[in-house]
Symmetry: C2
Subunit: 302 residues, 2 copies
């Protein structure tokens, strides 16, 4: 048995990573953080982190586990194997938890490279958003060796309400997340399509929302995101560009399996078009821009 | 004030209409039924109907209200204005409740024709399925004059748990239902797309179902219909062909407003293709046939 995990390094302190880091602090773990933004590192130290820095080199040797919550596979590569990469500086056998949303093929490639350096990987995408991240209530869908799950149990306990074990094969966690994002993305886009049609037909949107959220036409995303449309508030909780990326991963995964994904591909086009029109940094509910022209519903007097 | 409604004729005794009729009987209304199938009429009489017949002519003069639960606008036309049509036989001022899922334009046309005969209409589509119909727990989304709502209050009380007043303009109830069916249809099709991708990628479907139904990727339809896929049970609760019709109405409504509905149109293609391949009478979850070839998941040993 490896000694009990006591310290953790959180790489990437965006809305998800920062929440996971504070959850780890709250759970009593010796928590280290790294982010390209020095001010975010300083903030985490003020919240009780053992250390935080733009470069994790200083504390790499003290880590019992690492979790990556960066945005893309390229950022995972850079953080682990880049010029100032973390992987060569870790003690042998330290588990690396990849919680970024990346394609299954990228997950397998990272896993093979880490294995070659004697570092076990947990392929562990998360779902739940930044609020749940900060409360230690994420859902984790993870694949890896049983002993890797055991080794990072204190981290998973600190960050997650529910941990699904999707298998032992690296890439299966990413695949489950990919399928999940397919649903999430199409649900947001079709919610926008439906609400925009209702608006065009003169149906009051509050009424339409009330009917849908109390009937068989509801989805988790409809209830969540169309409230933003009703409020006319497109402050990004999660941005259009995130779904350009995630549905891009879905399509690439479909391509790699020669599998048809007509609805996912159509939804991808809608998010990509919204981004191209300049709405990429807005809340993902702004995909409704594809339907309503230049005027966002809710910003009018209705 | 018109005298209190005491009797009702239910036209169309399919899974929805039969349930509404038995709910009316249970609520103590003098209930009449009509259906093209004599054996269904006989069954309703055995359950306590005042009368039921393939032709409603015999009891038309005794009705205080009529509700149509047939399948299409064409069937509504035939039942009301056809050779043996009910409309000319009703007493003046008897309200006609149209609960079939039809296009807003059809609803407006029927309303105008009934108004010309002195018969007020309630444009009152329903949602909830046959089980809720039989328990008097449907959701009704209805448009019409306030006095028409009042006149049919005993019927609405008998059949519905929740009545949304979508406005006074005939066609607005049908429009709200149209938007609802857009969501419902796309949600079923994308649920199938996601589960088929998971199956192809070797993710156990029970695990995938568990993750999705406990996360932000869930929809009411995913939870309901993908259970049929897990069970490998394509007994029609609601058939593929119903969504060929309903998404056809959605598209026609989009066309009438020159409004783009890319996801609804794509989902329509999927249901239409499943129907063309011979799966039209199966449960609508069999839209998954578009993805899995000739072999239905759940019918294999998995």
């Amino acid at each position: 048995m490896t000694p009990k995990m006591n310290s953790v390094g959180v790489i990437g302190l965006g809305s998800m990573g920062y929440g996971v880091a504070t959850s780890c602090i709250a759970a009593g773990l010796e928590t280290y953080g790294s982010d390209i933004r020095p001010e975010v590192c300083a903030r985490l130290i003020a919240e009780g982190a053992a250390d935080a820095s733009t470069s994790p080199a200083a504390f790499a040797g003290r880590l019992d586990a690492v979790i990556l919550l960066v945005v893309s596979a390229a950022q995972c590569e850079e953080a682990l194997f880049g010029e100032d990469g973390l992987a060569p500086k870790l003690r042998p056998g330290v588990p690396v938890v990849i919680s970024a949303t990346i394609a299954p093929a990228d997950s397998r490639r990272l896993g093979a490279r880490l294995a070659g350096m004697g570092l076990p990987m947990l392929d562990a995408p998360v779902s739940g958003g930044s609020i749940k991240a900060g409360k230690g209530q994420l859902t984790v869908m993870a694949a890896g060796a049983p002993e890797t799950f055991d080794a990072v149990a204190p981290l998973l306990d600190a960050m997650a309400e529910k941990v699904y074990r999707t298998g032992t094969q690296i890439g299966d966690g990413a695949m489950v997340k990919t399928v999940h994002q397919l649903l999430a993305g199409v649900h947001i886009a079709v919610a926008a399509e439906a609400m925009a049609l209702a608006a065009r037909a003169g149906i009051p949107l509050e009424l339409m929302y009330d009917v849908v959220t109390h009937s068989a036409g509801n989805s988790w995303m409809f209830a969540d995101r169309m409230q933003h449309v009703l409020d006319g508030d497109y402050t990004p909780r999660s941005a259009v560009d995130i779904f350009v990326k995630d549905l891009g991963l879905v399509n690439a995964t479909g391509d790699s399996l020669s599998f048809p994904l007509p609805l996912a591909r159509k939804a991808y086009e809608l998010f990509a078009k919204a981004s191209e029109q300049g709405f990429g940094k807005l809340d993902d509910s702004a995909v409704i821009m594809n339907y309503v022209g230049s005027e966002l519903p809710g910003t009018r007097d209705n």
